[in-house]
Amino acid sequence: MNTSLPARRKNLPKSVIFALFVIALFSVLAILAPVLSPNDPDERGFKNADLPPMWVHNAYSIGTVDHPLGTDMLGRDILSRYLYGVRTAMVLIVLAIPLTALLGTLIGMLSGFYNRKLDAFLVVIMDILQSLPGIMFTVAVILILRKMLPPTWFSGVLVLVTGYSVISWVSLARMVRAEVLRLKSMLFFEAAISLGATNKRIITRHLFPNFAHLVLVWVINNIPAIILLEAVLGYIGVNLSTSVSENEFTVVSWGGLFYTGRSTLTRNPMLLFVPALSLLLLSMSFVLIGDYYNRKHTQ
């Protein structure tokens, strides 16, 4: 009989618990990828090429325990490549989303808060960027940047992050700008100015806390976008590349699995099925969390 417990515990709905569990699971997979993966993700061998998953035993091919999900057409282990792909996806989320959110917030605030001429200029830029086809713009940026950087895992990730951020800040900046303009016409803003508050104080104390929830909602809603973008680009082949040679990038990612998997759909569907399922689970978890947040704040 512990009466000091609060009378009503806030229970998270099942969907949110499920979502948090999925995110935690993928984070653990990402961190432990080198420990968990049975083989080197880039190791090739033509004897092992096109092995089926280990539970397949038919007249044509027999799976082995060494390669639990089988291998692709170059003999690389799918499970290892998938696990390293989880790592790439998580790094993409951690790098791209905060960077884009920061860019969008800063530009939106600059545009809404400071002088009119700068605002007009920034609005024109936003209009132009918003009427460009996003995927094509990203592809062009990737094609430009990837010849400039040395071919390492990190620069591959960096190229994709840049390609994403360059175009995606616009939607956030627009939202922040509109909100700042709305807040500027409110009484507390006028009061702060007439009391002689500095710009820094107005921004940090009066503006930012009032639109921070918008940034949060944007972040939750846009986390799936970067993983989906990577998958789509990979599927089309403008990928962080799948081959290991001197002048190619060596990033292992889900998009790369899609790229190799689309031609071997009949031989080994795992190549497409496993990353597609995890993509669905991961981005759905973020969508569910976003839904929960919205529901809590509209009631």
Binding site: S15, I135, M136, A140, P224, L280
Partner: protein, 342 residues
């Protein structure tokens, strides 16, 4: 009123000009040149493939690829003297010749249907038909689903629906497309693997796949806006006045929920345009999304620019329609806007 329209048109023209400039600079910065890429690839594939340097130079000159950047841009925008004859640029509506299709005019590739067919059989016509069909599906399925969700809010039906919609939002459309092909064509034999585009039933799978994500978005947005409006004071007042439920729903709830809903419809339709590139590629649909990919892979500058311009025009038109519609539905928006940007 005249000034208002003029202002809007000027803004659209400015945006389109900016789009062309940004895209040209980007394309110019991509390493490689469409012609050299083509020749290199051909030489890699066929060991006895040989191109005379003179020919290469001549073709480069023909397409203006040897000019400095500013000259290329002005040639594309305004026009230039080519072989002693003035050829007008994009301001006369001349999109220029396609490099990868041996100088065939781009307007011809996009808008001219095969001989003896109607305009709707051209590449542009195909894409427009697909977009119209998909947006029709997205709105006609999404709105009722959203209303049903708002009606059963927090009941089991709504929970199932919202999880299902979250799933639809987060699945990439090419995976959905592949799944649809595998399930309906390979297993159930309902559809054909290689579609015949003269047959309407073969349009359904690409249209539904393209419409899936916008449809889920429409349903989610409709649901949240309806729930938000339901809790407004004027709805309670209308109920308290004793108005019949039908009038409350149609006049007080639906009409006011329509304004934020229409504002969200814009980005959703834009997303649908973006999905076109992937879906047309996947189903080898003869529209301009597929042409776009081919052009990007071959670095066909004029083609990419022309298609980007089309895309930009499409988006601007959609945004303009939505802006005007929401101003008509709710005059307060126009007032606010005049306060914000006079």
């Amino acid at each position: 009123m005249f000034q208002y329209i003029l202002k809007k048109i000027l803004r659209v023209v400015g945006i389109l000009l900016g789009v062309v400039l940004v895209m040209y600079l980007l394309l110019y910065a991509i390493p490689g040149n469409p012609l050299n890429n083509y020749v290199n690839n051909a030489q890699r594939a066929l060991s006895n493939y040989y191109v005379d340097d003179f020919v290469l130079k001549e073709v480069n000159r023909r397409f203006g690829l040897d000019l400095p950047l500013w000259h290329q841009i002005t040639r594309y925008l305004i026009g230039d003297k080519i072989d002693g004859e003035f050829v007008c640029g994009i301001i006369c509506g001349n999109l220029g010749p396609s490099i990868s299709q041996r100088g065939r005019p781009i307007a011809d590739i996009l808008f001219t249907p095969p001989v003896g067919k109607s305009f709707w059989e051209s590449q542009f016509g195909y894409s427009i038909r697909l977009v119209l069909l998909s947006s029709l599906i997205a709105v006609c399925l999404g709105v009722p689903l959203g209303i049903a969700g708002a009606k059963n809010y927090l009941k089991p039906y709504n929970r199932v629906q919202s999880v299902f919609m979250a799933g639809l939002v987060s699945i990439p459309n090419f995976v959905l497309g592949l799944l649809a092909v595998v399930i309906f064509a390979s297993w159930l034999h309902v559809a054909k693997v290689i579609p015949d585009w003269d047959n309407f039933s073969d349009w359904l799978i690409p249209a539904f796949v393209l419409a899936a994500m916008p449809m889920a978005n429409v349903a989610r947005v409709m649901q949240t806006t309806l729930i938000n409006t339901q809790n407004m004071d004027y709805v309670r007042t209308a109920r308290a006045k004793g108005l019949p439920e039908r009038q409350v729903v149609l006049v007080h709830i639906m009409r006011n929920a329509l304004v934020p809903f229409i504002a969200y419809l814009g980005p959703t339709l834009v997303e649908l345009f973006g999905g076109l590139f992937i879906i047309e590629n996947l189903f080898s649909f003869p529209g301009f999304g597929r042409e776009y990919w081919r052009a990007v892979l071959k670095l066909d500058y004029p083609m990419i620019l022309g298609l980007t311009l089309f895309y930009a025009v499409g988006i601007t038109v959609v945004n303009l329609i939505i802006e005007i519609a929401s101003e008509m539905l709710d005059p307060r928006i126009k007032e606010q806007k005049e306060q914000v940007n006079p």
